[in-house]
Amino acid sequence: MVMKSGMSYFSVSHFSVLSLAVSLFILLCALPAIYMLGLSFTSADGHLSFENYRRLLVEARQRELLRTSALLGAGAAMLATLVGAPLGLLLARARFRGKRWWRLALVIPLVVPPYVLALAWTWLDITSELTYSLTGAIIVLGVSFYPLAMLATEAAARRVDAGLEEAALLVAAPRRVFAKITLPLVAPAVAAAALVIFTLAISEFGVPGLLRINVFTTEVFTAFAALYDFGAATALSVPLLLATIITALAARLIIGERMLTTRRSSRIGLSLTLGKWQTPMVALLLTIIALCVLLPIGVIAREAGGLRLIASSLSNSRAAVINSFALAGAGATLVVMLAALVGYARARMRARWSGLVDLALITLFAVPGTVVGIGLIGLWNHADWRGEIYASPLIIVIAYLARFAPVAALLLAASVRQIPVSFEEAAVVAGASWPRRFGRIVLPQMFTGLSAAWVVAFIFAIGEIGATALVAPPGESTLPVRVYTLIANTPASNLAALSLAQVIIVFLPLALFALFVRQSGGEK
């Protein structure tokens, strides 16, 4: 790894700490996916084989799964982009009051675990043909993921150099500047976000599982958890892994280095003047919030019944609630610790192949939970010291690390890039050792990024179901797993109470983070 500066400030501690972090990252986060990929080229007797791929191409069942998964991914990506991208442009460019609060309300579906939204969807009084259909799953995932498209579009629109729009405003009317300059400059980020949403949607397990849609993730789960067919589960993971790699590659090609930069233009070149459209815009925002936030939460609250019922349901699942909180907290903390070092190593890399690291990080993040789960079982379920870990709650924390450390590393690499290398060089000149430079110069400036990464990891971890459902040791359940296993034989009120608890648990750290950002000087 080559540092960005001409100055050599390589040291043994620097090298050993980063090497250890990167090795741990590969061992815990990358190995399950690599193991599954390797297994896909292996026959039942352990020899090199392309049988899994042959079956993928010739079996009608596999083709049907491929079709349904692709439709689910494409539909969810399209719906999320159609709703999210215009909202992102509005937030970035239009002038209206209370923008911060509108943004906060609009982003809520992203922090509510998708399976909770799916449960709310099943409790809406609509026909069961629509409820348990591919369209239903597309709607639920579209609602879950539109905030991603919104935030990506807003960030891209804010990143557009104001000078480019001003240069166009000198020769063209604002509408033309918006269509010909602003939109094309924002479009790659929107397309990349759509690709990421596509991958997240085809990797989703909870929503298709609840709405009884047969896709690869649910089939992987059934093959392993119900039929104990490890080979079939592995084979079914292959198309998901391939789709993940291809999509990550496409996203990387589209947005390139920009995924690691969060630079905002210091001023806005082109503002959208709403004028007479102000009232319709407010009505539109209220409608989206009503449909995507108030309606699902309202339906869950209605189903949960009174406070007494909620208290009784929570009391019955107290262990799962406490487990969820403790494991997600521990998981998020370890994720951030590991990702801070890996993100730092990535941000300060100058190697030609550094783009491949981003690609690997995106790919690892998009590997479906069920695939990670089976990979972890294959790696850790052995009759030696690994078995001890596998039989303990630690395996759930490892699952969280495998799933969410890659995205946290990407976020924190972006955070490190904001810190000029010269700050560290000044510390080198002052004689500071690497641990001191990292601890006293780098980490304090990453504080907002570290907090944001912790909140993101916590929210993801507490809603994680695909991997946790597979690796959770007997008697160790988390809230999502408990809800998923209770669905068949528990009254709706009980499930609703647990879902409500889930939503509240997710909001706590988010509210604290929002408060922190506000107190520490506005949006960052």
């Binding site: 405003l169 000198l170 020769v171």
Partner: protein
């Protein structure tokens, strides 16, 4: 006295309590080249952005070609109707369009027909000795080539007023000298009223008929 083509009357622009431009008045005759010089942060760029209509003046007036285009907090004429060519300090070439595409956008925005646009683009690129890289994107051009495209883009619509905001600041000395000479010969030929911003008097003097000094938002001599 020659009639003013560009006239700034007690122009003021504040950011919070700080006046970036403070009752600045300037008179530029038609065809005249004026260099606005001064240290960083003295209000040169803000003055140019006010003239272009990219900022609104808090007080004062801006007159271009005998027409009041901005007065006391209001832009009366939008930027794209002021007939201005602008070369930005960072050039602001649109990265998703080729050199030719950058020029074409300007003419198409003015409603010019495709064939006329084509002819005008070829003519302008030739004038700027930039025809060789018409099909290349800004990222594929060297600093000097980008400079030529940026100047070509500012000139292509045959503006009444040319504004140049330290356009040579990112070039090395030999290239700067060469481009300044070319700019001078272009100016001699086209006779466009020009305001040229720089902090380097030596760069300004060969090009400008008059050098105007700015300090702390005020025009102090010229």
């Amino acid at each position: 006295m020659t009639e003013a083509f560009l006239h700034l009357v007690a122009l003021t622009k504040r950011y919070g309590n700080r006046a970036a431009v403070d009752r600045a008045s300037l008179f530029v005759a038609e065809g005249e080249v004026v260099a606005l010089i001064g240290p960083s942060g003295c209000g040169k760029t803000t003055t140019l952005r006010l003239i272009a209509g990219l900022e609104k003046p808090d007080e004062g007036e801006i007159w271009i070609g005998g027409e009041c285009v901005a007065t006391n907090g209001r832009n009366l004429i939008p930027s794209h109707k002021r007939g201005i060519g602008f070369v930005f300090q960072d050039l602001a070439l649109w990265p998703h369009l080729t050199a030719e595409g950058n020029l074409d956008f300007v003419l198409a925005s003015a409603g010019m027909k495709r064939r006329e646009r084509r002819e005008r683009i070829v003519e302008t690129l030739r004038m700027m000795r930039a025809e060789g890289f018409a099909g290349r994107y800004p990222s594929q051009l060297s600093g000097g080539e980008q400079q030529r495209v940026a100047i070509a883009r500012a000139l292509i619509a045959r503006p009444r007023l040319l504004l140049l905001d330290e356009p040579m600041s990112n070039l090395d000395a030999p290239l700067r000298g060469q481009l300044l000479e070319e700019l001078k010969s272009l100016q001699d030929r086209l006779k466009i009223t020009t305001v040229y911003i720089t902090h380097d008097r030596a760069e300004a003097e060969p090009l400008a008929a008059r050098v105007v000094q700015m300090e702390a938002g005020r025009i102090v001599c010229g």
